[in-house]
């Protein structure tokens, strides 16, 4: 079991999730966040924080998003830890609205 960030985060990167992560398991690039499955303790604190519901528990991951399990594992290994909030990406609010949130 782990917790996974999916495509809704792309071009939003709100980082509300990061403030409640007890173990600093989020990593980031210029597009979005990724969770390190080796560090995440599956507490699910981040799920309700995401304004675009990009984060899933592995059990509840829709089939068409399975690829994100591997993407999170791989990207988190290569990228820096996101320990604090960052400004959402430009255009984040527009994307959020487009997603219906």
């Amino acid at each position: 079991m782990t917790t996974i960030v999916t495509d809704n985060c792309k071009d939003c990167r709100y980082t509300d999730c990061v403030t409640v992560c007890p173990v600093e398991c989020f990593h980031y690039d210029e597009q979005m966040l990724y969770i390190d499955p080796e560090v995440c303790i599956d507490c699910s604190a981040c799920l309700p924080e995401c304004p675009v519901q990009a984060i899933y528990e592995e059990d509840d991951l829709p089939e068409d998003k399975y690829e994100w399990i591997e993407i999170n594992a791989q990207k988190s290994r290569e990228l820096p830890v996101c320990a604090d909030t960052m400004e959402p990406l430009p255009g984040a609010d527009e994307k959020k609205a487009a997603l219906g949130f």
Partner: protein
């Protein structure tokens, strides 16, 4: 003297409590860039608060948060003073004299009361007692829980109620390789409990469980989750709530409940979820024999619905009751207390006395905001408090030379208080892990303070 927070005048902070909020406050101070020294006080010899003694033993992954705290504890700015009760061994005033600021992260240590007749009958317990007991907390190790009855009633539908119900529902085989206290495992092995009623005041659309906790009831070795389909009827306002896209969590929970209602129970042991009922009375001849429940209806706008009794009551015969309707903080001499909310009165973590901020006293975690949220929630909360503290730097009492830890040790030694440092804790930790190995457990906790201290002599 140079500015407070500079290398030759570090900011001296006393943190009271060693749970998640205490460690996240410590982390935020260390990361702030201000030169600081943190002395963390804990009334037990052993650290980590509710991660050690609250998180259920069958949730080992959640306890991995401890790794983060152990790493914070390695920082040169950090110092641990275990087995020191603030308020008795050392006063709040003494902490203020020896430090520039005090952050209280001492949690909410008691339960909210139901306020109904029979609440204190033998056989009626608080969730706190039971959780502390199965987790080997020294305060609760000698509690006795009579598990010789077939029916238990749990009042409340949050994650603590889920933990209590699940521990009662699991077999010994499901628990024996966890860090559950040995005494609890022995007692649970003799349990006769077959029917576990989990009672919620509001409806199935408002239950406070997380979906992860609820899901676990579907995978127990020898217990079925049971819900009467009629219990899942929704009023129009609750339908609006579940249709709201931002309310995905409760929708998921409702789907899980629906799945449980469709299941055919195959085991002898059942965990029965019941909604829209409030306890009116616990009764029995000298001990708990039954619980009187009143049926509720919801009223109000979606997301602001409250439950109200309609006068229609019925009884469940039960031999044991656990009350799990939330926690309440305990007052501390020298700190203003908001009795109604059970927290230290504060604004953004600044403790407030008679409407005025008292620079130098701060609060974070449950004693600041009340008992809500999970482990990670406390990180954001502690960050906010430390931000307030750092904004106050110029207002803090810098009088006399503050002695920090040295001053505290002098006071404690004068009173013959045996204080425990972090290396001492590591010794206790290693002993616990070692004696757990023999039983195939990640650790076997020491459950009394003298036992813990004896390891250090």
């Amino acid at each position: 003297m140079s500015r407070l927070g500079s290398p030759d005048n570090p900011l001296l902070v006393a943190v009271v409590g060693s749970g998640p909020s205490g460690f996240y406050a410590t982390e935020a101070l260390i990361k702030s860039g201000v030169k600081t020294r943190i002395n963390m006080f804990e009334r037990l010899p052993v650290p980590y608060g509710l991660v050690r003694s609250g998180v259920a033993p069958d949730h080992p992954k959640l306890k991995q948060a401890i790794k983060v705290y152990a790493k914070i504890a390695e920082a040169k700015e950090y110092n641990y003073l275990g087995n020191v009760t603030v308020g008795t061994a050392i006063s709040v005033e003494e902490l203020r004299t020896t430090h520039h600021a005090v952050i209280f992260t001492c949690g909410a240590e008691t339960d909210r009361r139901l306020g109904i007749p029979g609440e204190d009958l033998p056989g009626s317990y608080t969730a706190t007692e039971f959780v502390g007991w199965y987790n080997g907390h020294p305060d609760y190790r000698n509690r006795k829980f009579d598990l010789s009855h077939e029916t238990a009633v749990i009042i409340g539908q949050g994650n603590v109620a889920a933990d209590v119900s699940r521990i009662l529902a699991k077999t010994v085989d499901e628990l024996k390789h966890t860090d559950i206290a040995g005494h609890a495992l022995e007692a649970l092995a003799t349990s006769k409990i077959k029917n576990i009623h989990v009672i919620g005041r509001r409806g199935p659309a408002q239950a406070k469980f997380t979906s992860k906790e609820l899901k676990e009831f579907g995978g127990l070795a020898d217990c079925d989750p049971v819900i009467d389909k009629n219990e899942l009827a929704l009023n129009p306002e609750s339908e609006v709530e579940l249709a709201d896209k931002t309310n995905a969590g409760n929708k998921k929970i409702y789907e899980l409940f629906s799945g449980f209602a469709d299941r055919e129970a195959t085991t002898d042991r059942k965990c029965i979820f019941t909604f829209l009922k409030s306890p009116k009375e616990v009764s029995g001849n000298g001990r708990v024999e039954s619980v009187l429940l009143e049926k509720n209806t919801l009223s109000g706008e979606p997301f602001r619905q409250s439950a109200r009794g309609g006068g229609d009551t019925f009884s469940i015969d039960a031999g044991i009751v656990f009350r799990s309707i939330g926690y309440h903080g305990i007052a501390m001499p020298g700190v203003p207390f908001d009795e109604a909310r059970g927290v230290f009165a504060n604004v953004k973590g600044r403790v407030v006395k008679d409407g005025e901020v008292d620079p130098g006293l701060y609060a974070a975690g449950w004693i600041k905001r009340g008992p809500t949220g999970i482990i990670g929630t406390n990180r954001a909360d502690s960050v906010e408090t430390v931000k307030s503290l750092l904004e106050d730097l110029d207002k803090l009492d810098t009088g006399e030379d503050k002695p920090g830890a040295a001053g505290c040790y002098e006071i404690l030694d004068r009173r013959n208080i045996r204080h425990v440092n972090f290396s001492d804790w590591k010794k206790i930790d290693a002993c616990e892990v070692e004696r757990g190995q023999a039983a195939g457990k990640p650790r076997e906790k020491y459950t009394s303070v003298p036992e813990m201290l004896a390891l250090l002599d």
